[in-house]
């Protein structure tokens, strides 16, 4: 589904922050992306989300070379990728329900067609009672769950999550992890960037370890 070949990236004239990355993210796969701070996890997620282009190498996303994709086609590709931002990026003037429904709304879907699904998902992530609440009132963990729900709502083919359990307690982290695994069972490839070793220990999944711009993969 995603293929990286000898990908390198440098910011400006600085040193390469990512070097010679060659790997695949197969359909329906589940992997953790980990490594020390500054190793390039965020940059790699940006590359996966099509919000950066590499300075060298080839990236194929959904069988398309991202260097040659016209700008106007990017939204269509992004619709196939769900992303959980580390800083949540919820819109403060929209309720939890409206934030989660946003990806469906921008796709032009009728609200009646998705209302029940959004409410079900919000209940599943433990926000059933916070449906009509605005983000500034939510706790960090609640925002995290709302951001995850927004990324999942349209059943993406690939889910990218940056520290998705960073603001929740261990039981909620386990619950969110099982949500990701459930989604993976239903066919979504999942990449979770995390520092949380205990979270990784709970699942026997592929580990992609970034260190000094290089990637080691442990199947």
């Amino acid at each position: 589904m995603i293929h990286f070949e000898n990908v390198g990236l440098r910011y400006g004239m600085g040193p390469e922050v990512l070097r010679d990355l060659t790997f695949d993210i197969p359909r329906r796969s589940f992997q953790f992306l980990t490594g020390p701070s500054g190793a390039g996890k965020s940059t790699l997620l940006r590359l996966l989300f099509l919000s950066l282009q590499p300075t060298r190498g080839l990236i194929r996303t959904f069988d398309r070379n991202i260097a040659t994709i016209p700008r106007e086609e990017l939204p269509m590709l992004r619709r196939r990728i769900g992303i959980v931002f580390q800083d949540f990026r919820l819109l403060d003037h929209l309720t939890t329900y409206e934030n989660v429904a946003l990806p469906l709304r921008v796709r032009g879907k009728d609200e009646l067609s998705y209302r029940a699904d959004v409410i079900d998902l919000l209940k599943w992530v433990g926000l059933g009672e916070r449906i009509n609440v605005l983000p500034p009132v939510l706790s960090g963990g609640e925002k995290q769950r709302a951001a995850i729900a927004r990324a999942l709502i349209d059943r993406p083919e690939l889910l990218l999550a940056d520290e998705p359990t960073g603001n929740v307690d261990p039981p909620m982290a386990r619950r969110l992890l099982s949500l990701f695994m459930e989604l993976n069972r239903l066919g979504t490839a999942v990449v979770i960037a995390t520092h949380d070793l205990s979270l990784m220990d709970q699942v026997d999944a592929r580990r992609m370890i970034l260190s000094q711009g290089r990637l080691d993969i442990y199947e």
Partner: protein, 330 residues
């Protein structure tokens, strides 16, 4: 009895959500400030437009009133039969193309003209007072004044043709200058309005950049994002420009009403002489409506272009790893 809990469950009210809020927040501080700026600029632009069209109309009427007539003056002479000469002069003038009507200023009217200087009960036979013939001409196709002058002097040597050209030329120059100054002021005010509205719209939009980014990253197409912002800014600009335009129209209506009520008072006469009548007419009100539409279009288009440019910038940053500004911290 066993079915009761199930029935209760079915009767549980469905979870209610509020009516979906617009994607762009309906009102915030920058939006309200923009509305005020638009209202003020619309008011000033409409006021200027109305004032300039009023001044232009007044200048045109000065010019037209004085250039619509010429005067033949006949000096008295012992050998001259004044009444016959007056009739001859009028008939001669009316033979020229471009003349419309001729009127002899009769003795009584001449005496009235001199009354402020010479008093009442004036006997014109005792004084060598020149007599006048007023000829109305077609100002668009005036007669040949030189030929008329020549013909008159040949037939009545005491006749003198005053075509008012000196005054007309001066007034035309003054009216044109006034109209140009008015147009200049109008251009300046409209330019200020365009720039203010464009920059105020961009300023109001800059506070919404995070919304554009989020929409872009959850898969919204650029056109969708632009349309959402366009709708929002169209509402703001329509409200603002309507308030400003309506206020300007009201000012003209009140001024016109005041002038109508205080007709023939010294204040009103002075204002009329200087500025003409305060009625801007249907053309003026159409201009005010057009200004409002221009402002609304301007704001909407600026919003659209700014949103498209923001999205373009986000995508440009994508292609240029040297720039990481504006990217989400993923």
């Amino acid at each position: 009895m066993q079915q009761e809990p199930q029935e209760r469950q079915q009767k549980r009210p469905e979870m209610r959500v509020r009516p979906t809020a617009p994607i762009v927040p309906p009102s915030n501080v920058s939006g309200n400030a923009l509305m005020c700026v638009i209202a003020i600029m619309a008011f000033l632009a409409c006021l200027t437009y109305g004032a300039v069209s009023m001044v232009r109309a007044t200048a045109a009427s000065w010019q037209s009133q004085i250039s619509r007539e010429i005067t033949i003056q006949i000096k008295p002479d012992d050998k001259l039969d004044m009444e016959a000469a007056l009739n001859d002069a009028r008939d001669l003038a009316l033979t020229f193309t471009g003349t419309r009507d001729g009127q002899i200023v009769d003795r009584a009217a001449t005496a009235r003209l001199l009354e402020p200087w010479l008093g009442e009960g004036l006997d014109l036979d005792e004084l060598p007072v020149p007599r006048l013939v007023v000829i109305t001409i077609d100002e668009r196709d005036p007669p040949d004044f030189a030929a008329m002058r020549k013909a008159l002097s040949e037939k009545i040597p005491q006749a003198f043709l005053d075509d008012h050209r000196t005054w007309v030329n001066r007034l035309v120059a003054m009216a044109e200058t006034t109209a140009w100054i008015g147009t200049g002021v109008l251009i300046l005010v409209f330019s200020a309005m365009v720039l203010t509205v464009v920059f105020a719209t961009r300023g109001a939009l800059s506070g919404n950049r995070h919304i554009i980014e989020v929409l872009h990253f959850v898969g919204a197409e650029a056109g969708f994002v632009a349309t959402e912002f366009q709708k929002h800014f169209l509402k703001i600009s329509l409200k603002g420009s309507f308030a400003g335009g309506a206020l300007a129209a009201l000012v003209f209506a009140i001024a016109g009403y005041w002038q109508g009520r205080s007709l023939a008072t010294p204040e009103s006469d002075q204002a009329t002489a200087l500025f003409g009548t305060f009625s801007v007419g249907p053309g003026g009100y159409l201009g005010i409506a057009a200004t409002m539409i221009v402002i609304a279009l301007l704001t909407t288009l600026t919003a659209r272009f700014t949103v498209m440019r923001t999205i373009f910038e986000i995508d440009r940053i994508r292609s240029d790893p040297a720039r990481t500004d504006g990217l989400p911290e993923t």
